[in-house]
């Protein structure tokens, strides 16, 4: 089965450090989503791309977070500088044409568990 691959699976670092999370979407999927999951807030959409173009990043703190898709096989989410409140599990999901809308499912990776000390 094709899967969304996220790296690293776990990351522990000190506040102020730069964090980069990577995602390889399922081949052929043209829509990529970044989510953050915490106990308090649940799953929150941070940003999403279609055909590598950012469509919406309104859920993302602009001053420290950035999301890019250098190519169709790689999406990155960076935090600089990181803060303890950024500690969460970050999920990447991909979908086929129109993925995440209407009937199209989103396929999630297994997440990056981030701890900022």
């Amino acid at each position: 089965d094709a899967r969304v691959t996220q790296t690293p699976r776990h990351k522990v670092t000190e506040m102020g450090q730069e964090v980069t999370m990577r995602c390889q979407p399922i081949l052929g999927h043209n829509t990529v989503f970044w989510y953050r999951q915490t106990m308090m807030q649940g799953l929150e959409l941070l940003a999403y791309f279609r055909n590598r173009a950012p469509l919406d990043d309104s859920g993302m703190p602009k001053d420290r977070f950035s999301a890019e898709m250098p190519d169709a096989t790689l999406a990155t989410l960076k935090i600089q500088p990181s803060e303890p409140r950024d500690s969460a599990v970050y999920f990447c999901a991909s979908g086929p044409q129109g993925g995440g809308t209407l009937n199209q499912p989103q396929h999630f990776g297994d997440g990056t568990r981030l701890s900022i000390l």
């Binding site: 929150e44 959409l45 919406d56 809308t101 209407l102 499912p105």
Partner: protein, 111 residues
Amino acid sequence: TQLLEQSPQFLSIQEGENLTVYCNSSSVFSSLQWYRQEPGEGPVLLVTVVTGGEVKKLKRLTFQFGDARKDSSLHITAAQTGDTGLYLCAGVSGNTGKLIFGQGTTLQVKP
């Protein structure tokens, strides 16, 4: 802002019991999806309901979309320990096409 409220937040039952999880909103969604998430993994799609009043069955799981497309329910018959997990409903916003997730229902099925 469109919100989805799930209830209950936590549910602990014995194997063989039935249960229902609810997902409610004051907003209308173009469709609604149910996901199941196990510890250390990402959510996995169970079903999508699109039409108001629609009922879909997946083995022992029955999903219903409200007539007004503002709410949904998940009913599990004769729960098994393998049903343990976090159940998430997610509505597709008709305005933006984005998924809006509920807070989730953590289900524990004890042997």
